[in-house]
Amino acid sequence: MRIEVNNVSVKFKNRYALKDITFTINENKIYGLLGRNGAGKTTLLSLLASFREPSSGSISIEGEDPFENAKLMQHVNFVFNKDYKDETDNLKNTLENVNRYRPYFDFDYANHLIQRFKLPMDKPLKQFSKGMQSAVSVTIGLASRAPITIFDEAYNGMDAPTREIFYQELLEDQSEHPRIIIMSTHLVSEMDYLFDEVLIVNIGELVLQEEYESLVTKGASITGPAEDVDSFVQSMNQLNTKQLGNTKSVMIYGELSDAERKAAQAKGLEVGPISLQELFIHLTEGEE
């Protein structure tokens, strides 16, 4: 499916939640949508899921406006960290209900996920812990196999081992049933390996859209003896410094030229990739 977002803005009273955003997503891969709290991630994703309309600009999926479009809306699943505190229904009925409306829902797969997350089938959802409720949302999201599946911080509340199960299942199911998956997060360091492509929004604006592989070559980490590292990175844009004893590691932003790489090697410095987390912090910091 092809998602096109053209000059989209969303205005709340006198503040822009999103400002003139344009991008295209058209491959079955996992997209990471990164942004700080309040950056506009949820608002942007709400638009794709027809939860709301843009104040200006346009959105199209397969060339059509998705808002109130029954054939498109059934193929977009927006999974958020839903609060089930008032839900008296149990998991079995909840899944059966979703199954009625999601054309590609796979019950066997849902059962498999339920076993992995160790969720009880017959207890009312309101009795589930926060982590279990997140697992319910994620189970519905994965098992619906919607061609456009959006996870908006849906794993909030899960503990680390449970999130790990989710990441494994996500990658496995994505390889068997490829679709467009958009995951918003601020847990960047933990999830970066999942992303094929990254979009970063900051204060309502799209800062970048780039393949993960090429993005992490936008910078480098230089590691070695402190003095050598210091002299090497002196004139570069430094993002972060770590030091252990006399060994120092500095993250720099900006691609290294071949000559610079060779110079680093000659000095015995180790040149590694930059982490997405560092880039993310650099691109979104200090603009409030």
Binding site: S46, A49, S50, F51, R52, E53, E62, E68, N69, A70, K71, M73, Q74, H75, V76, N77, F78, F80, K82, D83, N97, V98, R100, Y101, R102, P103, A146
Partner: protein, 259 residues
């Protein structure tokens, strides 16, 4: 890709879900009725029939689930990929079904109770229902209040089809009014919501008076002299309901789903 037809699914979902609530409601009403009848057996007090008791209480029940429908179900359906339009159409159909089934079940239970009473020759005084509006002559506030509690009513034994239909029209009206109020609150907030409560009261009052006049029941003093044939009344009520439904659609058509 073809446009899927989702509203029949929504209709059956809404029918069965609201039906589950309605059966809980009828269950409670039945327990209350049994307790009242047992008391009556011992002290000889008159008791309303089950049909009358549910007829009165169903108004409030339908008003409440109408409000819940507007507030709770749009987020549910939209997040399951259903359009607001399919939700709207499905809810109307499902609720019409409920509005018809509820009085039928109530009538069947009333018949069953009567049968048991007759079989065992129990001495229970089942009272027939009187529309007491005449006591509130020329007093608009009292009119409104009593009209909520005592709505146009036909005794089940006198004409059961008419009794069930009046019951159905009446509770459907209350549902639509609740739905309208809920939609206005979620779309525009408290102040406009309050205005819609006033509008809701007017709709209920007009529906009441129209039915009461045509059925020859007691009506408030200021419309005492007017006569309207039942067909005209029903057409007028359907027209009013259509306008309310149109308003609900306008309010919910672009409703933002928040979470």
């Amino acid at each position: 890709m073809k446009q899927p037809r989702n509203y029949p699914k929504v209709a059956s979902d809404m029918f069965f879900l609201q039906g589950t609530w309605a059966s809980g409601f009828l269950g409670v009403m039945l327990i209350v009725q049994i307790i009242k009848m047992i008391t009556s057996y011992f002290n000889g007090n008159e008791v309303n029939t089950f049909f009358t008791a549910t007829f009165i209480a169903s108004n409030i029940f339908m008003l409440v689930i109408g409000i819940i429908s507007a507030v709770g179900f749009i987020p549910h359906y939209v997040s399951n990929g259903i359009t607001r339009k399919d939700y709207f159409k499905g809810t109307i159909i499902g609720t019409i079904g409920l509005a018809l089934v509820l009085p039928i079940i109530s009538a069947v239970i009333t018949g069953a109770i009567q049968l048991v009473i007759n079989l065992f020759n129990l001495l229970i005084n089942l009272e027939s229902f009187e529309n007491p509006l005449h006591e509130a002559d020329n007093h608009i506030v009292a009119d409104i209040i009593t009209s909520v509690i005592f709505t146009p009513y036909i005794e089940l034994s006198s004409n059961w089809i008419a009794a069930i239909l009046v019951f159905a029209i009446n509770i459907f009206t209350y549902y639509v009014v609740g739905w309208l109020i809920g939609a206005a609150f979620s779309r525009f907030g408290v102040i406009v919501g309050l205005l819609f409560i006033i509008l809701g009261f007017i709709v209920v009052q007009v529906e009441d008076i129209l039915l009461s006049i045509s059925l020859g029941l007691n009506v408030p003093g200021f419309v005492d002299e007017i006569e309207i044939p039942i067909v005209i009344s029903i057409v007028a009520i359907l027209l009013i309901l259509s306008i309310c439904l149109w308003l609900i659609r306008q309010l919910t058509k672009r409703m933002i789903v928040k979470f």
